[in-house]
Each structure stands twice: as C-alpha cells, then as structure tokens.
Symmetry: D2
Subunit: 363 residues, 4 copies
C-alpha cells in the first residue's frame, strides 16, 4: 500500500535500482486462465529497450524478463506473478565523482534530503530504468484487456518543436520508427532535430498521446477514483512527466459549452472532446490522454549546483543518456493506461456484474 504499488485489484508493485543486481515486480490480482509467456512480454520490453537507435542512450541492456510465479503450464493461475530482469550492463564504474553531487533537475537532492541516504549509481531508484517493470506488467494487462476487446496504443505526437501532421496519421507507422511517430514524414525532421541536439549537448521535451479503444462503458469509480483521475495519477507517475490531459485537455479553457459538449444520437456520439470519460466514468468512446515530458537534465553542458556539503559546484553529466526521454516513453505510457483500465474493469465487475444494460450502448 505504500508508494511502490499501483492499482487496487490489479496491483503492480515494483523494486529495483538502475545499477543494482536486478529489477523486479509482483502483479497481484491478475485473472486466472490467461495465456501469457515471457516472449510476449519481451516484445513490449524490446520496444522500450535502450540502444535501439542512435537517438537513445547507448546503455546496453538485454532487459530479459523471467516469470518466477503465478503462471503454470502457460496460463496465469490467479496467484501473484513475480517477474525479474537482471541488470546486465552494470559497469563497475567509479561513481566517486557524483556521490556527493546533486545534479540539477534530478532527484539527487530530494532523495538525499528525504531519506538521508541515496543510491547514487545512475540515479538509483529514481532512474527511469525502473519503468521496464511497468512495461512488463503492462504487457500482462494488455493481454487480459485483449480478452475484453480493449486495445491500448500510444504514439509520439510532438518532439520539441516538431509536431506530427494529423492528416498523415497512420497507426501502422508507429512501431516502424524509433520515435513511435505515426507520421512517417515527421520522422525525417525528428532525426535531423535530434542529430543537431546531440551535437549541441542539449536535450528536449516531448508529447505522447495514448488512445484506448474498445473500452466498455462504466469504468471509473466516483468520486476520487474517477477513471480520469486514476489515469492522471498513473501517467504523472512516469519519470519526467509534467502535464496530463484527458480529451481536449487545456484547450477546454477557451471552449464554450456548445462547442465542448459531445452530443449523442442513437447512432453514437457526434464528437469526443471529453476523451471518452464523462463524470469520471468511461462512455464507451475512445479514451484519449496526452502527456508532456520534460527534457532530461543529464547534459554535458555545464550547470550550477551544490554538493552534499552545500558548496557551489559545476555539474557536467558524462555517460550514456537519452537526450529526449520522450522517445522511449510511448510503451511506458501505454502500459500505465492498460494497468489502470484493467484495474477499473475488475473493480467495475466486482460491484456491477449484475447490472443489466438498460439502453443500447453507444460507441
């Protein structure tokens, strides 16, 4: 129930540091009888894996996942699922130079202050390496959701100044380029932008969108566990995320009621400004969420900071880092959305399994 867990019925708990011996997780509450194997989970992990293009960190991690429990003869048993990824690329590096350094915009300072101790090797627990286990758990959630006809897909919609062009949107392109861009033409621009950025030694932010389709009407619990609130929680918990939108998001500020409201007809909704959620409960339309990721703060351009003695220092980050953490964030965002949706699907089923549909369900 502490901070390393998420979900009330489909619960994910994780452990592991960037440069510790291993990362791991426990999934609790997975329905039984679901066919799942390590290879399927590996497919998702490989999407997030570093080092697959020149635009991401060159750290080499196999990210090979082992299922240690909860799956028997190829199917989930309903008991807790343990998974493990050994860290293989733990360079026996000398960290003495960063041991007492608080890198600006990193969690070094806050972890040190909170706990009085900090695993300084590569960010320790605050490293985005931790998200590997989220992706592994998300793969399980996606598999279960598929049984219910739910599909969760994401894409990068903006990389710094480079936006995708909606008219060129193609889901089939998303997994064909290192950026998860649905606009193949924008990829060229993104590559050029990243190459220049790398030369400059700087980093940049990004925007990821996630769309869930086939979501049944009725997911989400009033008042505080609204589906949008839980999605915001899950998405904001991803490293570097600074903003979350559902549907039209911040654009609603300047919308009028007549413009925003999604009218309904017997044939379905006429628009989806709400992003598939009304009153915190899924409407049956596509769930649409969008997140903003900040530029990574691991730069080789020097920055001002202090050390653990409170003395002024200059920080230069060496080593292997993602100049745009958003590039690898699409599979993570999908995973978080999948976990939340499955959790709510189970919660809804617990309470409302006996409810009979009174009216035709719209899509």
């Amino acid at each position: 129930m502490s901070g390393n867990s998420i979900g009330k019925l489909f619960t994910l708990t994780t452990f592991g540091e960037s440069h510790g011996p291993a990362l791991g997780c426990i999934i609790d509450g997975c329905p039984p009888g679901i066919e799942i194997n390590e290879a399927e989970i590996q497919v998702e992990l490989d999407r997030r894996k570093p080092g697959t293009s020149r635009h991401t960190t060159q750290r080499r991690e196999a990210d090979e996942v082992r299922i240690l429990s909860g799956v028997f003869e190829g199917r989930t048993t309903g008991t807790s699922i343990g998974m493990l990824i050994e860290n293989t690329d733990q360079r026996s590096k000398d960290y003495s130079d960063i041991k007492d350094t608080f890198r600006p915009a990193h969690a070094d300072y806050t972890y040190s202050q909170k706990y009085g101790i900090r695993d300084y090797r590569g960010g320790g627990r605050s490293s985005a390496r931790e998200t590997a286990m989220r992706v592994a758990a998300g793969a399980v959630a996606k598999k279960v959701l598929a049984k219910f006809g739910v599909q969760v897909r994401g894409y990068l919609s903006q990389l710094g100044p480079v936006k995708i062009e909606p008219s060129r949107f193609d889901w089939n392109q998303v997994n064909q380029n290192p950026f998860f861009s649905p606009d193949v033409q924008a990829v060229t621009e993104m590559e050029a932008y990243m190459d220049a950025l790398r030369k400059e030694g700087n980093s940049i932010g990004a925007r990821i969108n996630v769309v869930a389709s086939g979501v049944p009407v009725g997911l989400g619990e009033p008042i505080f566990d609204r589906l949008d609130a839980e999605l915001a929680h899950a998405l904001m918990s991803i490293n570097a995320v600074k903003g979350v939108e559902i549907g039209d998001g911040f654009a609603v500020i300047e919308q009028k009621g007549t413009e925003h409201r999604d009218e309904m007809t017997p044939q379905g909704f006429l628009s989806n400004h709400a992003g598939g959620i009304l009153g915190g409960i899924s409407s049956g339309q596509d769930i649409v969420a969008s997140i903003a990721l900040k530029p990574t703060s691991s730069l080789r351009l020097p920055g001002r900071s202090i050390n653990s003695q409170g003395e002024e220092i200059e920080v230069v980050t060496k080593g292997r880092h993602d100049p745009c953490v958003g590039i690898r964030a699409t599979p993570i965002a999908e995973a978080m959305v999948a976990i939340v949706l499955l959790d709510h699907l189970l919660r809804d089923r617990a309470q409302n399994a006996d409810v009979e549909d009174r009216i035709p369900v719209l899509r």
Copy 2:
C-alpha cells in the same frame, strides 16, 4: 478503499447527493490536539458557496457544517471526524422530464450504464455539490498544515479568453472578488464576459492555479505515489477538470534541458520550472499546479441527445447553473492540494522521522 475515499493516512471519505437530505464526510487520521471549530470550516465553505454573485448559480445553500465527532473541547482527538451539511434548498421539483434524459457531456449516461440506476435529481452523486465536503475537509487539512508552516493558496488565472496579467498579480485581491482573480483589472473584463455569456445562454472554461509555500523538502513517495502523481490524481478528480500541470506543464515539450533545469546555488534554486517537485518529491520550493476546467454542459441552448430508451431527443437545461464552474473551483482546488500535502507529510514522517538533515535545506 473504494472510490469515495482519498488519502492513505489523512483519509477523506464522502457521501451525499445534490438533492438528497445531506452531504457528509469522514476524515480519518487527523493528528490529535489541533484546534478546529465549525466557524473556521465555514469560512472556507462560504468561499465555495453558490449564489454569492450574479455569476454563479442562484441555488441558495447555507452549506452549514456540523462537526459530529473527533473534536472534543475544541481540539481534534485523533479519532475519525464526522461532518455533515444538510441540503436545505432541495426544491420539491418535478424531475419527471429529465428522469429519462441523458444530458450531453453530463454523467447521466455513464452513471446509468454503470449502475443501471441513477439519482437523476440535479445530477445526484455526480453533481459538483459533492465538492462542499472536500472544502470542509480541506479546511481541516489547512489548519494542520499551518502548524507545519505550509500555506496553500489558489487563484483563477484564466476565464475563457480573459487571462490575468502577471505584472498585476496581487495575492491580496484573490478573496476580494467573485472570480478569485489576483488581477483586479481583469475582474472588469471577466464580469463583462460573463454577462454576455449569460445572455447568450452559453458556458465557458477556466484555468485555476494553486501554489503551496512552506512545503518541507521530502514529501512524495517513489514510485507511484510521487507527489506530482498524487496531486494530479486529486486535482483531476474535481468535477470538470480535463488537464493538470505541475510547474511549467505542457510548456516543457518545447523546452531544452538547459532552459528547464532549475540550477541550485548555496543560496537556493535559481528558478522553479519544476513546480517544486523533483523525482516526485518536494524540493522545498513552492509547489505549483494548474488545472483546466471545461465549460459546464448545463445550457439553455438546445443540444442533441438520446433518452434512456435510446431515442433521439433535444435537451434544454433549465434551472440554476454555473455558466463557468471554474469560478467557484479555487477553494476546491486548494482543498485537494492541502489534503494531498498533509497526507504526504504524515507518510513522510512515518518512514523518515529519524532522518537527520545532512545538508542545508534550500528554499
């Protein structure tokens, strides 16, 4: 633990429908010995109360709160605090016309589908009337936080197209106008805008910002209960909210690392793009959050919809409604931030009370 609760150590659970006999809540986990009385809570409730200006709903609710337990001889006892607000303006209205109507962009359709039954009187449980109890609980949280030197304040920063001008920002103005605007000059524009909007019969969105100052470093729990994630959860759970930002929010997409990172010196941080949270943990700087509220969907301009038989209908909302729900949302947003901060302050104290500060704490 179900959806009507928030917080793990300072826990708020609420009940009540818009037109039921009463609203109520239970606060669990409040520290003992805190001086609190109904009058102090009433001050906060009165800030949210409808009917205080021509720009909000004319429903007349006294919103008088009674403390039923957990406070003895003027101080909290550490046991659960029960609070109650009777609904006094429950007009014995005839609801037969809206009983089978799904108002577009309202929760009518989703509640009906989820539960197979719906309290249709004024939105029932999905009405923003429910937020009164949040404000009452927030008043308690603020009182406790004050003991720790934490102050939570909010303001309206944008109403439809009317933005406040940062150079005219004055905290002292916020509670002096019905909009919670810190820019007194913008109030005139807002009034004009609202008057025109009311004539038109339409509604509009808004943006609210919340700032918490005096927050100790160290609040927030890795990995999933990051302070920003919990704030996003709490803020997105407010009716009509469609977006949440921490610090620079969506602006980070186009920021470079050198621009975004908040450099540190022995005298403190040089900027606050992060909004006071690094790695999900408070840094000691001001916590800064911003939310977008959609325009209300209760309009007297007709909209297309369906009824519970799935037949096409036209919906016109009569009665008393807020044309801009954002106007009364500032105290609610403050309350949610206060509840989250207090919850995390207690959680941090549970685990880390023995940690001695190793380095000088920055502000």
Copy 3:
C-alpha cells in the same frame, strides 16, 4: 484507509463517540439495485439496542437510523451510502470525576497516551456504542448476501460457566430470548446467573458463535487476505473480544491428522472440522467461527488504578453498564462476518468471474 475503515471493495468507515451528537458511517462499494430501507436496518439495530431486558445496560437509546445517501427510490444506487444515528440519551452528566481517571482494563489509559487527549464521556470513541454502525452496515451486507443465497446467523453458546447443550440447539429460539441462546433451557440458568452477578456487582465473559451458510466456494484471497484471516481481523476488532476460532479452533492442537481432515465424497464433505475454510478459501461448507468476549471492566466493586497525574486512586464505576457485554454481541458478530463475506464475494467476482466450474461443487 486508516483505522476506521474495513473491507476493500465493500468498505465500511465509521465515526462517532458514545456521548457525542451522533454516530455515523459510510458504506462504499455496495452493489446497485439492492432494495433496502431504514425499517429493515432498524430491525437489526433493535436486536443490539440496550435496555431491552434487565440484563443489559439501562441506557435508553432509540438508535434510529437515517439513510442520507446512496439509496434512491428504495434501491441502492452504487454510490456511497451515508447513515446516521443521533445520540438521544446524552445525559448532561458531570464527568469531572472520571476526567482524569484511568479505569482499569478500559481504553482510558491507552487513548490518553496515544493521542494526548481523550473524550472521557462514557468512553468516547472506545465505547461499544460505536458498534451500532457496524450492525447497520451489517444489515445492508446481509441484504446483499441474501441475493447470493448466503445467510449469516449467530448465537451465544456460553455465558460465564453456563454452556448451551448442543442436543437442545434450536435456531428458532435465538431471537426469542435476551441472550440469543439457541437452548431455551439454558436461558433460565443464564437469568439466574445474571441476577446473582448483578447483585454481586461483578461482570462475566461469554462466547458467541457465528455460522454462515450458503457461502459459495472460492471466497478468500491468498496469502494474507485469506478468508479466515479477514474474519479473525473483523471479529477481533469487536470490543472485548480476546480470542477467535475458525472451525475446531484450539481443539486442533490435540487432534491427529486422521481426525481433523474433512474427507470428501461425491455426496459432499463428511465432517466440518475446518469450519468451511481450506487454504484460506471457502469450501462451500458452513463457515463456523467462535469468539470469546471478556467481562466488562465497568464494575461497582472498587479497583486500584492511577489518575492522569500518575497518582494512585480507587475506581468505582457508577451508572448504566452491561454486566456481560457478550449478551448484546451476537448481532455485532453477525454483522462483521456478513461484511467480510460480502467483501470477499465481490473480490472473488472481480478476479474470477470468468472461471467456469470444472467439477461438481460440494456442499
């Protein structure tokens, strides 16, 4: 999530002190569409109500319950149910004599030490008066369980030295006498025993048994939320309970495996030493639990104690008290069992709704 709540999906949260203005509770997660009204809940409350015979406290409480939310047109709506009982018999008594007194075996001392403050009027929050809300919530749980064919019944099996005689067991007698004794002949003995005890000014312990029948196989979650563990939790949380047994309980210590194991045949189990729970999961047999309640410590026979200054004092309890708290505990124990069973029924349904029975279910 703090201590005043129980249940993960069917969640009860309570508030209220013995001599405060009111007691109340919130039920979260109740399935929608359940017919329930105040009169039905009142029936259960009246079973627990004080002053119905000369053997219980003469405090006069109407214990009239009001439903404030979550029920619409006679049926639950799936949203949170608020209930309230006003305290009517709050004598404006002078408590100055007990204000600084720690009555032995009461919670006066521990509450004072924990919180540094204590509502000393009649025990405050630690009073068994609080259990009224459990009974009210239990009435709702029983109503839902009835839909699933589950019935929860309890009885007093021992009052001090007076044991019921199994051969005279008759469920129909239980609600026909003030002791909830299923053995009508034992009632005479109990009355004589209680009359003597009252004269003596002393108090006595008791044993209550609860039996749940019609429980589906499969309730209970490995590892820590085993059905027996959750029952033990819920039953031990009742005031004055010092022991909990499932099935044969402490008798198993001297049983051999051949004696204890409940053999199965295609026609069903041949015995029920396990009390209906195997591996923490219900087997479909009757769930059988038993609890021991200590003698109340409110005696007019003087006892040694200390006051809040740590000085030696003599304590004599005046006023209206139950000489055997066990007498009124049967409805409370039933309520707790009902709440736990419903919670687990919902939890099981969330995860395992798609499981098809592979084998004939035994009873």
Copy 4:
C-alpha cells in the same frame, strides 16, 4: 492491495510457489538507514528451514536469500526492498498422480474451484513454503524494531498432548532444540511423541505463543485496525492456524470482571490478562498472543476424497512432509507479529509524533 500484501506503511508483498523457480517478496516502507545484510536474514531463515531435525520434512532447501534492491552500502535506502530465494530442491517428480486429486483438508479443492486452474506441484501457492519470505521480511522488521527497543520472541507451548511446564520456562532453551520449546524437559517427551507419530503415519497439532516486549504504549488504530485485530489477521494468515488468542484468550469466558481487569499502580500494572492491549491499543506491557495449528493433512494413512471429475478416490500422501507443521511455525509467528508491530509503530508515528506524554508511562 490485493491479497498477497500485508501492512499499510511497512508493506510486505510476496510471490512464489512451492515448486516454481523461486520465491520472492517486496518490502515497501522500510525506514532508511537501517543496517541489514543477507547473513542476518539468513539466521532467521535457517530457524524455519526444513530438514534440520528428523521431526520435520526432509526436503532439502538451502533457502538462500538475496537482497536485490533497497539496501545500499549495507543500509536500507527507504526504497522498496526486493528479496529472492531460488527453489533448489524442485525434484523433477512426476505429479500426474496428484494432478486431478483433491487431498482432503488441503487447498487443492478450493484453489481449483476458485481459479479453475491449480499449480498442483507440492501445493503450489498454498504450500507453507511461501512462509519463507515472511520470515525474511520479519527479520528486517525485527531489525528495525530493535532500534525502538522492541523484541519479539516465540516458543512452542504445546505439541499435541505434550504441554510445556511453566515452572521450567527458560527463554534460553527455545533456540536450542528443534521444537522451539522453552522447557527442555518437555523436549524428551516431544521427541518420543513425534517418533511414535511418524511410525503411525499420522500428524498432530500444536500451539505457539509469541511475546513482544519493549512495545511502546499507543500502537493500534481504532476502530478496525486495533492492534489485536491486526495481530489476529496476521497470525490467522499463517498456514494451518485455526485459532488466535490475545492475553488470556478463551479463558476470559469464565472470568469475572474483578479477576480479569489488570489493575494499575504508579509502579505499573499488577497483572497482564489483557495481553498488553487495551481498547485495541498497546498498553506498554508485553504483547502476548497464542495460536493453534492444525495437524497437517499430508498423511500416508489413506483418506477418502474425490478427484477433479468428482469421482470417489482414496488419497495417500507420499513424499516429504512435516508431521507437525507447528514445529517450524515459531519463527513464522514471530515474523508476523514483528511485521504488524512495526507497521503500527510507523502508523502511530505518522499521526501522533507531536503528542507529548502527559503521564508517566507504565510498563
């Protein structure tokens, strides 16, 4: 939050099957800065380890624990602690004979019915092998508790008909014999009893007592998370436990109030019938709990049962089993008590850290 977790602030979540590749756990919420290493945990694991005497199962498990995260340079970091034990003695045995068999009094039937699938190898998740991780986590909890002066110790007080003699009680003996008996003379009787039992092919129950000393006053949360209720939960969750007592337990039924109440003097309590808990909150006295463990149901004496087709069969359990599961249960019971106490110590500190003691604390 699902069933494989226990604790709200110090949270243990476990995974692993009897004959799967590994067992593991995650501890969340451990305070930072605690010195802990694998060797210390191993000491506790070795106490529970099978095969250390002829009276327990001859399965050979090294039970070697690895810490995978949350400990850095020998101290806890405040982040989640992952631990792993590989199963080394997974005989590649043919399980086809028990695959469809429901062994009486085992969880085979209930797991199958609940989940529709079952890892039948050695009991799978329902095997007591799972308790190894509890002992590992308990070792960590004990280490933290030691910092607060709390010590948790257990012993076997009865093995079938053989009871220890209180006058011969010696804590120093407990870890000197395979039974955890504090009465060295009773050990001879126990050995003789067990030898005869093994010859007979039968099994027997046992009673374990746990005593926690140095517990601060004030642990336990009203109403439902009373310390005794949480202890009952934790202890009843141990495999084979059928009864839990706090203090005098079931003996209170026949006690009078004057006999049961623990009188207080300025020098301390005069007795401890309550077992150190008043009103659900620790009193500063020793916490005393007792549990009853049933005889194992793995017998070579044939029993009647059914198979998964519902057909009548005869079951004979071969292989390596504990004829008295109680023998190895002492370290497990200690672990559960330690985990609950630490969880409540942290919870109390969160809410009540600012409470100043008003009166002299008794012991």
